[in-house]
Subunit: 337 residues, 6 copies
């Protein structure tokens, strides 16, 4: 992987924006992929043709890459340098075809499966939530009993929208019926609000999906709820897929998304949940629904970057260090305690 | 009321934006109003001529309607469909006259009073806070001892601003002297910050208005403070007016308003307060001071929609189900507990 | 059609935003459509799933309706009131299915064909340029030898994009092969810039499409070029379809579009071209590619409104009155000349 | 007047933003005003309570002052330093009362009349176009036969809007009936578009106002039309009021206004018209309808500054030097020609 | 100091925007400064030449002044009027030289030292964080053992960036080596996130700087952490410098800054920390890194104003009254408790 | 150079944004540079520390690269594919040091000189106009009698700003005294407005720089003025440097720049000037002062891309083909003429 540039040449907004300045590798070129010996493969999925609200997430990957160059590999809370654990590369974007979900998802699956096949964790940057279909399919090609943790305001379990099976309301339905995820190995954290139809609740209960409302997070705290969710999802599983819909956050913390959630998670609560889930071990992940044009300050793509970085650090150290949980940083800063 | 369109035709941003796609009815046409047999009458009040800071709230009603079409009638936290309780209609906007507060308020009063007269709850979408004058007058025409709950950063009890009785700093003064609200049946929740003059504090204390600071909300929690405020306001009253100034929220959660409050209520706290107040029963309500042009992501009009939906649900079920309070949703999602 | 509200109630941003406040009619309800006896049927097509650049045009129809309420039916340049010529109604939006172009276009075709069948001119508000496919099909159902005038930076004659026949680069290819427009009855005005591939130029020449570059407009003037284009397109035709891609305008005049054209048409030049084309008679029209979230001032949706209004006036009077051409307004203002 | 700060301290965005860094003087303090011996008095009129479209012009004066500090007193086209001709001061803002047009206009009149009484040219920065009422009244207090040149998309001659005499559609009606301007000493330049009602055209013709359409400007050119307009307006007059509605510009050149004009004047055309009018001599002026929140780049307030600076230069030199007319700058740059 | 204008003339957005409408004084004119007998001197430092991320903080001072005119001198939580404690003046801006940090900082030091020399508290409005170098130098000229409290996401202790000693990553390094602050009299509150390099942690620990992570604030609460930080910093000191980097706030609460912190402090937490620190007594302060162009709603400059006002009130009363701590306001509002 | 991706993978917003998707090469690695055998080397210069107005141009290069991926190599007006003439590569960004102009310019000079040394045309994307100093120095290292054409609103001939020799007002002064450009081989086109000080006019005349005002362009037309300017500049020269300040454009056409020019060049006029200058042959070029955060629609970075593409095409074909001049495109489209 590329050496992090010295500060001399690291003016944070300079240079071509690969994710955190990582080397680029072609994920469709097996030899190149093999040679790169990667541990993490970042892939954008610039897709929003299956979005039922405000479009714009096809610009998400580029905005996230742009924001990422202002982040460093050393993570203060985890007191570790990601480069000590991973060779991180930027695998470019899925070559999508606007309006053709089936073929675009097939290509996404191929790309992400290649990354997993090369022994790396794929980190997919959406794109609308339909893109997760490629992610779960790819993981399912390499695991027998995959689990899934969804952090989201919404169930995303619709069977179809207006007859279409591929829609950003449907990824969990597809994880179950296309990628054979056992519903009992699925947990959803953060459910809230008047955009969830009753039939999705009913379907989820019938299937045995583990459900954790935002209300429960606020009442019991993010950490214990996340611990329960992970335990429930991973029981008997051999691989974990983590998908984060950025709209789970409060609208103020993530304005750059098609359907913001007023009253959603605080950023610190999301970081705690991510820390718990990822420290348990993740094999593939995505962060979706970043719509940069709605967010002139770039708050939302920056949070997407933070999501990736925190998950990678927690996964590497196998311990959560989110703010409010007690961190290595706090221990370091209080030498005498 | 209009049937909610099936998902087939429910692309969320499609169609003429009446409030949540509700049927439209002319509130000045008694026969039409009678025939519609409505339970809730939405009315915009596109007015900002009496605003002392950044204008723009005259665009509030349209932006709120626009955002509303992304919300569904089924409310997850309350596990209920609003259409099972209400026939909701969009009564259009008050025909305001820019610069003429007296006549505009007279028209607003007429419209809202017609809605109440038709047996419905008027839900007024501001506009600046002066528009509440029409609301309180309308309710006073139909109630003997009306109570009022104001959720706001500010007292809004100024006698006049530069000699003008109609100003967005004055609605509570007019509720008392024009609509005969007993000050002891008024509660204000959320007071904070260096924009409240001492004389308004003094006036409010002299009058016996029940005052609850933001500090108290943060210290004691939103729910008990809201319970106290409702109990104090409604003692001996036969009808309740709820007015929500969106600027009571933290500036990050509601940037689209003329005078944002840094350090204001979190959205979840406001939703709790609304749940408590509305579950006690409301007869008329408004949400004011949404200024959409300041908020490219539309976070603030979306919160205005949420305010309406949550209040209607709480009022229908007569129980609060806000996040952090324990909700029907959580009970539904934990079938085994 | 609805009476234009008196100024008393005509605060320009008030009320539910149907197009110019027009009455709403259901275009799928034959009886209602019959009863309405309409002359112009406005229909939104909130679609952008087949866009290869920045999405966001699915919000176009609503933004155009919003802007339209600031326009009056009396047109100063034409010295005529549109209501003296037309019953204008708002037929709502095509019930699109995100990601399913074929079915969405089928529905659009049905809607627009119904409008034509009712004896009215359909005015379709896009949406990306793929939506024109519905328009040309609908007109073709009612005409033997339809002509088409495209005002655009781009040829829009691609056979497919990444294998997809429905894409906003392809509407003219579909007009020819799906709607049987004779290429010799097609004129394109405004071609320019480094986003036009050579193979589209070649295809257009082979087909015999009449081509007018922006260069030619600037050199010879908008009026004579438009006259040539109309003459060429309409020779032997019995109906005219006009499609206006708002990105034909200079980027400064139309920033709210996915692919702005630096150095494109001045607004006055476009208005002249529209005047010439529409005064020759139009049977159906659209204005597409308005992407409102890129344009905080709303300049672009406002121009879309102006496009519709000017075309309707020119078509009604059968004479062009655009600025720079000599107008009825100038004659009126110079009584002594 | 304040010495222009040296470049050392002239970082263009630094310091408290009085207009171009000018000294501040209290226009209600006669002694201070006398002592200042001013030639030009800048005054803001932060008012938009009588606006029928998008509000926000109450922020105009501050935005214009902010932009003004990036302009220098030396004017290249005129090859002159404004300080050689004028003592320019910033007289602050009219102390408006939101919602009370009558009293606000009275105060505006007093302020502007004081400036004229002190022997200076008042330059009023709006605010919506209603504010011109103060300007014309103030000039009428000091002139017997005042003339007026309005550069605007609109007639602004409405008798009333919804019964209100003070509205931004009415300033010319008030110039005639409140300030006794002879209609034959009034010229309007730039009329265009479907927002002008026929009755205003009829009223203007009956009154004998001199009317110049945008069409005529485009056909004949800005300079000859402006020359005709000035000649017509000033015949027999002893003082000239110039009022510039920034919405006369093309929407791309002035997006920051409530009702942008698609297809309006190019900036260079407006500068030519200003040069012709002001070089004939002006006694008072205003520039109105700047609404900065719609214009993130600040293009529109910057054009308002340019309007002021060019008019002052042309008035001082009594010759027009706008681009396209041949300027002193061109003569200076071509020493050998 | 200037009398606060009566509401009659206090339209909040009117007038030239000095800080809260305060009188202006020239800080380089000793006699004028002496005569003004000031207690607080506001000074802008419009500088961002040493910023490694998104620039734009050179517009901070003007935006903060603009926002400040919407704040009143009476502070509700503190139940006190700042004018009863202070003569506040606006000392204008440091005359910076873009690109020349050394000389710009020298001028800043002179300005701020003059203010301190005149017996006043300087309140510096940045500008990027490099500007704090002037502040600490100025205080060091007037104190023997100055202490510093930094509220920030970042250490800001870098020795240099790309060889440059003056950079917004370096102010604490310069406080130590240029202004002789004892590192043991320095506390940093709010440290978090993957933008802090390990070598700054190591340097800070070696030096004995007192470090308080955001994690600790969230775990233990803002008030006790702030109390510890103040106690640690001020032990043995004779003067306190408070520097607030607005990016310590959560990105949603302060989007208008170059490097927003996802998951940072809530505004109410920052207000509590400020209350604790300032009630202990402050001798100089700054608030830096406000970048207004990223924040169309002006949330961030408004928070900068609030920072100043709360600190002045807490310093005057020598007691903290932030929301959540129990305030005078709450006591006033609950007369019977 | 990289093959242009097929449409299949060419969704316009996908992928890492190198300029037009070109291959990346390290310009400081001689071997790599040699091996790449490049004809055009794109280099960003993300610098704005020497800007006296609104900063933000350090984000210019990345925004221009982002916009560039929506442009194709085939240029319709020129009927040529740039890849038939050039191997184009992206050489990344100059490793700038914020606040240190001298060293940053030295590095810029080295990078650009390496590109020229490799036999290629450097195309530098600013950054503020100071960055041109590197460009002219680099060309001077490889040419005996270099000429310069500046297209700009401003002279940019200041000797210093506040004592600093490196400032965006000074690049031409440095071209003369640091890079030995003969002033008589310098032409400036587009001078206008009240931001040009008289002393720069005087200096330019004394030095013999060839000056062409915007007024002259508007009066005589862009093409003949550009022809004169090129002829004057290149007489006796052996290499040409073209520098384009994007603020020469009208503010509506280029809002994303620190100091927009109201009334500046139309985009079509600039394209004509570029065509004339570049078809005469250019050896190095830059386009500077793009400040993307001011321009949500991205109009300005897109114009910067167009500037580069048009210049490269004109230089390759040695003939101008700008709109309004008669183009190959028009000839192609009119086969029968």
């Amino acid at each position: 992987m590329a050496e992090e540039p010295p500060y001399t040449s690291a003016l944070l907004d300079a240079g071509v924006a690969s994710f955190m300045g990582a080397d680029q590798v072609d994920p469709f070129d097996e030899d190149e992929l093999e040679a790169a010996d990667i541990d993490v493969g970042i892939a954008g999925f610039p897709w929003d043709s299956t979005c039922i609200s405000r479009t714009g997430t096809n610009r998400g990957p580029r905005a996230i890459r742009d924001a990422s160059t202002q982040t460093r590999y050393y993570h203060f809370e985890y007191d570790t340098d990601l480069r000590d654990h991973y060779t991180i590369t930027d695998c470019g974007d899925v070559p999508v075809i606007p309006g053709n979900a089936a073929e675009s998802l097939r290509r996404g699956t191929e790309l992400l499966s290649n990354v997993i096949g090369a022994g790396a964790i794929p980190v997919m940057l959406g794109g609308d939530h339909t893109t997760t279909v490629s992610g779960v399919r790819a993981l399912a090609e390499h695991a027998d009993d995959p689990a899934l943790v969804l952090i989201d305001t919404h169930f995303d379990t619709a069977q179809e929208i207006a007859g279409e099976r591929y829609n950003h309301c449907c990824p969990l339905a597809r994880a179950i019926d296309e990628a054979d995820f056992d519903p009992e190995n699925i947990s959803i954290i953060g459910l809230t609000g008047p955009t969830n139809p009753r039939h999705e609740l009913e379907f989820s209960l019938e299937q045995g999906i583990n459900l954790y409302t935002l209300d429960e997070v606020v009442q019991r705290g993010a950490v214990p709820v996340a611990e329960d969710a992970v335990e429930a999802a991973t029981e008997g599983s051999d691989a974990v897929y983590l998908t984060v819909d950025i709209d789970v956050l409060d609208a103020g913390a993530a304005p750059g998304t098609g359907v913001p959630t007023n009253g959603g998670l605080l950023s610190r609560e999301l970081l705690q949940i991510l820390a718990v889930v990822a420290s348990n071990g993740i094999d593939a992940m995505d962060v979706v629904e970043t719509s940069p044009q709605l967010d002139p300050a770039g708050v939302t793509p920056r949070m997407a970057v933070r999501t990736v970085v925190d998950c990678l650090a927690a996964n590497a150290l196998e311990e959560p260090n989110a703010i409010g949980m007690g961190t290595r940083a706090t221990a370091n800063c209080s030498p005498d305690d």
